[in-house]
């Protein structure tokens, strides 16, 4: 897919909490096509500390409204700056980057999208995409507490939503991999994104139940488009760049001890 460097405009910055912001970006030009699982490298301006761009997943694309959504969790200076962007401000992005989740050819596939924390970001776009292909979507979303469950009403537009929270304030209490759904149902495809320990637990479940499973990895990135070779992960084919060969990997490719 052709990559672009674009200056987009903040149409709205929805402060979901003091830790999360949803940036709704737009452009006077038509946004390029993007696929679920892909990400953008966002330039952070006006900070003496941030030098490199920041990788942010494509959370959602509304082609009819020409909107790109980015879901930001504030963890350091870069994400803090991004989450503080104001309407009408301009943001420079490289996009779309990376590969994407693979879409089952069989419309009757049972699919489960498991997200944790800000890792839910790419799953919204994936859910929309799967639904548009006529596939029934189940989301299993986990967070620390109810306040950390993001975009719930958005997810509900595309499928059935199950939740877990560590404190039990919403859905079942515990981790996503402890949810009863995983004991009671069997899926053909699992897609997951979230903290590495969570994804490893999901991968272990998928492995045990012989379920096809794709995970979206993070890694420290300098470029985001395959030239610095900083972002490798260990795979059965050796060191592969997460930014070009990923971020989505089938767990059979990874060398995770599961």
């Amino acid at each position: 897919m052709k990559k672009f460097m674009l200056d987009l405009i903040i149409k709205e910055n929805v402060q979901l909490s003091n830790q999360y912001a949803l940036l709704i970006l737009t452009s006077s030009d038509k946004l390029p096509e993007m696929l679920p699982g892909q990400f953008a490298e966002v330039r952070v301006d006006g900070s003496s500390e941030v030098f490199l761009r920041r990788a942010i997943s494509i959370n959602y694309v509304d082609y009819s409204k020409n909107e790109l959504w980015l879901l930001i969790q504030v963890v350091g200076e870069g994400t803090k700056r991004l989450a503080a962007l104001k309407s009408a401000e301009s943001v420079n992005l490289l996009l779309p980057l990376g590969n994407s989740f693979s879409i089952p050819s069989n419309k009757d596939s049972k699919v489960l999208l498991i997200g944790g924390g800000v890792g839910v970001a790419p799953l919204l776009f994936l859910g929309d995409f799967l639904k548009s292909k006529g596939i029934e979507v189940n989301f299993l979303l986990g967070a620390r507490s109810k306040a950390d469950l993001l975009q719930m009403s958005e997810f509900e537009r595309f499928g059935t939503v199950y939740t877990t929270t560590e404190d039990g304030s919403h859905g079942e209490k515990g981790y996503v991999t402890q949810h009863s759904l995983l004991r009671e149902s069997k899926f053909d495809h699992i897609y997951t994104c979230g903290p590495t320990p969570m994804m490893k637990a999901v991968a272990a479940y998928a492995h045990k139940t012989n379920t096809n499973c794709e995970v979206s990895l993070e890694n420290t990135m300098a470029c985001g488009f395959g030239v610095c070779l900083c972002c490798v992960t260990d795979t059965v084919d050796g060191h592969l760049c997460v930014c070009t060969e990923g971020p989505v990997f089938n767990i059979t490719k990874l060398k995770w001890q599961i």
Binding site: R43, L52, N219, C230, V232
Partner: protein, 303 residues
């Protein structure tokens, strides 16, 4: 339009803007963003005789106005380059140089011999300065003797242009430059990365898997500029300057300090079109200051 053409060693560059090895892939990765044939030269990723998986991750740390990398020369080896990459890059209408690395002199010789075969590769950048290539615990590029030995050996077998890439991790870089000039280098390029380190205070662990890594970006520019100036004073062969170049002004500073051409590295990660901006900016500068040719400002700093 000012005349941007410049000769560097035996290379004819359409302009002095090149890309630094390890920061521009094989060029084609940038073709979505810009017309890569516009730049003066592309130095491809560090290539070794045999394929290398490079270091474990994490390989990168952001630092104030810079970054550390510990890639460790991951590449698919000379054979793969010749069979799978060369057929594509040979069609790019600019100078494609191969950055050649090795861990023994024999590796360098064999690599250079293989590259002799490639008609569309006008030269090599001999990398004796990667903080990860070791010879008795010390990079070739940090002693005059071993630097001279490598260049001598490669000069004997390689018929095209040899640009030698120098390490800044030395007491006296001019000394090394003189040593490689004496053995027949056509030009020198500098600087490679400075050895640095980052620690995560919360986990109390090094950020990089290799503990130390190579520092690049604007943070190193003042050091790079000083070294380019020192080396340009010392040697007669052309000097190719790099280290933290982010824009045309930075590039012009290196040229004024004595560089015949420059390489843009880390900046490509932040703005994949930066080389074109640098190129156009150099032309604007020359026109604004009424210089007809870029060669008029090489080493033109007035003291």
């Amino acid at each position: 339009m000012a005349n941007l053409k410049i000769k560097v060693g035996t290379l004819q560059l359409k302009n002095p803007v090149m890309t630094a090895s390890g920061t521009f892939g094989y060029g084609t990765e940038y073709s979505d963003f810009m017309d890569i044939s516009r730049i003066g030269g592309i130095v491809v990723k560090g290539t070794t005789l045999r394929d290398r998986q490079g270091n474990q991750y994490p390989r990168m740390a952001e630092t104030p106005s810079g970054m550390l990398n510990a890639v460790g020369l991951q590449n698919k080896g000379m054979e793969y380059f010749i069979n799978h990459i060369y057929p594509t890059v040979k069609n790019i209408d600019t100078n494609i140089l191969v950055n050649l690395s090795g861990s023994t002199i024999e590796d360098y010789i064999e690599g250079a011999e293989r590259l002799n075969e490639l008609e569309k590769i006008p030269g090599i950048e001999l990398n004796i300065s990667c903080p990860n290539v070791k010879e008795g615990g010390m990079a070739f590029g940090t002693s005059c003797l071993s630097a001279a030995q490598v260049v001598k050996a490669v000069r004997r077998v390689y018929k095209n242009d040899i640009m030698v890439k120098l390490s800044p991790n030395v007491t006296d870089i001019s000394e090394i430059a003189l040593a490689v000039e004496a053995e027949g280098a056509d030009s020198v390029s500098l600087i490679n990365t400075l050895l640095g380190m980052a620690i995560n205070s919360e986990t109390r662990k090094p950020v990089l898997s290799t503990i130390t890594g190579g520092l690049s970006g604007p943070a190193v520019k003042p050091i790079a500029l000083r070294m380019v100036w020192q080396v340009a004073q010392a040697v007669k062969i052309p000097v190719v300057g790099m280290g933290g170049i982010m824009n045309a002004t930075d590039a012009i500073e290196f040229i004024l300090a004595g560089a015949s051409a420059i390489q843009v590295g880390t900046a490509n990660f932040i703005d994949p079109t930066v080389t074109i901006k640098v190129l156009d900016g150099i032309n604007d500068y020359l026109e604004r200051h009424k210089f007809s040719s870029v060669s008029d400002i090489i080493g033109a700093m007035e003291i």
